[in-house]
């Protein structure tokens, strides 16, 4: 199983898609142009501080609100390795999986962890932080298939005989 260590950015409950990517920047041509504005209504400087390999830890209902897929795409483009939240809104969950952004559900970590600390994740198995282990539930098979194909675009390319 893939294992990685990353620095934590800690966010609260109900981090909505208007916070992750405000509507005024949604019509930009590329996800790269949107990147600097990610999370700006909540923390203006956060996008500039996030480094590739960092991990976002948050409370419940992460990604609630709009169906805008720019939200998970921009988080992925910032180099965020994975999000660990207590729960996710359903459209964000599907959009993230379809773009190959790893989402992990865990009830306790957000209450224990401090921003700036590092955690270690073993995919589909556990999170390690401060000498404590947090178990992770595996994803359902149909979602694993999409992730294994490398996202929905690649799955469709394969279906259409392109890859």
């Amino acid at each position: 199983m893939e294992r990685f260590t990353g620095k934590v950015w800690l966010l609260g409950n109900d981090i909505d898609t208007d916070i992750i990517m405000p509507t005024e920047y949604l019509a930009f041509k590329t996800i790269d142009e949107m990147k600097p504005y990610a999370f700006s209504p909540l923390r203006e400087d956060l996008a500039a501080k996030i480094k590739p390999g960092d991990i976002i830890v948050a409370g419940s209902n992460f990604g609630c609100g709009s169906s805008r897929e720019q939200a998970p795409e921009v988080v992925k483009a910032l180099g965020v390795k994975c999000i660990i939240a207590k729960s996710y809104a359903r459209i964000f969950f599907r959009n993230a999986i379809n773009n190959g952004l790893l989402l992990i559900e865990n009830d306790e970590l957000a209450d224990d962890v401090k921003e700036g600390d590092t955690i270690t994740v073993t995919v589909n198995e556990k999170i390690e932080y401060n000498g404590k282990e947090y178990p992770i539930v595996s994803l359902p098979d149909n979602l694993v298939e999409i992730i294994e194909a490398g996202g929905l675009v690649k799955a469709m390319r394969r279906r259409n005989g392109l890859d």
Binding site: P22, T23, L42, C64, S67, R68, N98, N160
Partner: protein, 412 residues
């Protein structure tokens, strides 16, 4: 064992007797694509290697979020929409007719029992006519355009029963805000809501639309009303046994049941900046306001404008306060003009805009700045939604909003 409405719709669609938790592949009845997502949908469609959409008649493209353009680059989305419609022979393209969710039911694209997906989270709206409908991202939309299918998990259902007569000045907006407050913003995640009881039976389809529109604010996947005579009249169809039998079975199994007495409900508002931060208007009296927004796919229909006009007839919007009115579609705009409603609102001092998403999504038509307060009839009061992150947004019914506009502060 009996079935809920959503279980019946998905069972009919897939030809299987489904239960909550089943993962199925549905044949899609109709899709809604909005302008702001079109550049991404088309690019993913091509990247996936598709040449032709599976059924051009089933595709509806609606320009609304960016109409009229407020940034030079918005025009790119129109061009991509127009070009894709031409290339694929898609007959259903709306370039400036109104807000997508209003048009999908108003123009007859959605019927009871349909399975509909849209690239906007408020696609839950079409549950008002007994259709399964929900929001998805642009990558999944591109996959549907190529295949006509999408996988989904059959949701468990939360039943919401409301009985009795609503007090004066309590609108369906107050009802759904109260329900969201009780469920919380994540309380219905992955689940279907099903509304029943004589209170909703007595509501117009427009009032029901407000409730199914906002179900996503509790995280719901869809929000359904059983189709009845009003639904049939609205959709221009006959109420056949097939349609009527979409209603839940008496022995259907629910995840949970919420019960309300209409007489107990009061006018409420969602306070900044959480949709589930619900308080009675009586507790907010005296809060000074800078602007009122009457419109959106939540509350921009004729009955909403009529309710506001009844409050504002012969009155003026308070000094220093702006009232922005955005009818949900051109048809509604024209009906309201013909009925003299726009005249009443204009006499009161309203700014009346073209139908579109405009201020609700913070793109155009009345955005606000630090320290300002707005009473708005739309569906979201998220941080930064209608201007800067220091704008206070209170969500309210059209009647409450109109009263505040005249008073210049929150009043009951």
């Amino acid at each position: 064992m009996g079935q809920t409405i959503v279980e019946k719709i998905i069972s009919r669609n897939t030809g299987k007797n489904v239960r909550p938790g089943d993962i199925v592949t549905a044949d899609v009845s109709r899709v809604m694509l909005d302008d702001i997502m079109m550049p991404f949908i088309v690019s993913k469609f091509r990247e996936m290697g598709f040449q032709k959409v599976w059924d051009p008649e089933k595709v509806v493209i609606i320009c609304d979020h960016l109409v009229p353009a407020s940034q030079v680059d918005d025009v790119r989305a129109y061009k991509i929409s127009n070009d894709f419609a031409r290339e694929q022979n898609i007959p259903n393209l709306h370039t400036s007719d109104g807000i997508c969710h209003q048009l999908m039911t108003e123009a007859g694209y959605v019927k009871p029992g349909d399975v509909v997906f849209g690239t906007d989270s408020h696609t839950t709206t079409y549950g008002c006519v007994g259709a399964f409908s929900t929001g998805i991202g642009y990558t999944e939309m591109a996959a549907i355009l190529g295949t006509g299918q999408l996988w989904m998990r059959v949701p468990a259902t939360i039943r919401v029963r409301i009985t009795g007569k609503l007090p004066e000045n309590v609108m369906s907006k107050d009802v759904i805000l109260r329900i969201i407050g009780d469920l919380t913003a994540a309380g219905a995640t992955y689940k279907a809501l099903e509304f029943c009881g004589d209170t909703v039976e007595n509501m117009s389809v427009s009032s029901r639309m407000t409730m199914s529109n906002m179900a996503i604010e509790a995280g719901a996947k869809c929000a359904l009303f059983a189709p009845d005579e009003k639904t049939a009249a609205y959709c221009g169809i006959e109420l056949t046994e097939e349609v009527r039998s979409l209603a839940a079975d008496p022995d259907a199994v629910y995840d949970s049941v919420l019960e309300y007495r209409a007489e107990d409900l009061v006018p409420v508002m969602a306070c900044p900046s959480q949709v589930d931060s619900i308080r009675p208007v009586s507790e907010l009296i005296g809060t000074k306001i800078d602007q009122v927004f009457l419109g959106s796919c939540t509350n921009g229909r004729l009955e909403d404008l009529q309710a506001a006009a009844a409050v504002l007839k012969g009155k003026k919007v308070a000094p220093f306060v702006k009232l922005i009115v955005t009818p949900a579609s051109r048809k509604i705009w024209q009906e309201a003009a013909k009925d003299g409603i726009l005249g009443i609102l204009s006499d009161a001092g309203a700014i009346i805009t073209h139908p579109g998403c405009g201020l609700c999504c913070g793109r155009t038509g009345g955005i606000l700045t630090d320290g300002e307060t707005v009473i708005a009839t739309n569906n979201r009061n998220f941080l930064g939604r209608m201007g800067t992150s220091k704008v206070k947004i209170f969500l309210a019914s059209p009647v409450s909003a109109a009263k505040c506009a005249a008073a210049g502060e929150i009043v009951l």
